[in-house]
Symmetry: C2
């Protein structure tokens, strides 16, 4: 069994175009031997956002701290600490920090995303909107 | 996109033999259309524990609140709020609440576990240890 203190895991700045003030920590990924899905922790600083994009795999998210706005195909939706979000494959989405403190959430993806040659290792996906738009 | 307030999701008592004072909430499962992995939230009341058992699929866990003791094949290990745990398939494990407040964690499993006819719908698995042993 692997037990990691998430506060001790290296924060990697999210460099994908459209991401602003976002860092990621890999809690359970290929290096841990996790076979089917990867668990990442994201921190979005105040004023920051994830890219507005879509991809052919889903997200399962649990909000640990803060409050945000989800840009969805059905408009803007607010979310808060304790909410669970499911983003279907190929659904356009963006998450913006709508609070004064850090927005933190766990985000799960299928394991292939972080395997060598997977989407996370490839060129950045198309984005069309930063935080302020 | 589905956004659920986890506090509003029905708590299902965990009735598997060996479970004591444990409830589960399904945050992303078959009824939500989640295709690859199921996100559940567990609450273990003070003095409670999950079954000591193993199964042929993994757990990915994030601890939301409280502190616990993990019974592992390598002995007892403590864990706390903010820790991430990975339990390999077929690894014996049990989680005991070691604090005075609720122990809460997110626990992910492959989706087949909660599909009709899957392990969660079948007879209880073998267990050999309750909280006090």
């Amino acid at each position: 069994m692997i037990i990691k203190n998430s506060h001790a895991v290296t924060k990697q700045p999210m460099t994908m175009p459209g991401a602003e003030r976002v860092s990621m920590q890999m809690l359970c990924g290929p290096d841990d031997g996790c076979p089917n899905f990867a668990m990442r922790k994201f921190t979005v600083a105040p004023g920051g956002c994830t890219p507005k994009h879509s991809h052919d795999y889903e997200h399962e998210i649990f909000v640990l701290a803060g409050r945000g706005i989800a840009i969805t195909e059905a408009g803007e939706k607010t979310f808060h600490t304790g909410d669970a979000l499911y983003v279907k494959a190929n659904e356009v989405h963006q998450f913006r920090n709508a609070g004064d403190g850090p927005l933190q959430f766990i985000c799960l993806v299928p394991a292939f995303v972080h395997r060598p040659g997977g989407p996370a290792a490839g060129p950045a996906v198309a984005v069309d909107c930063a935080c302020s738009k």
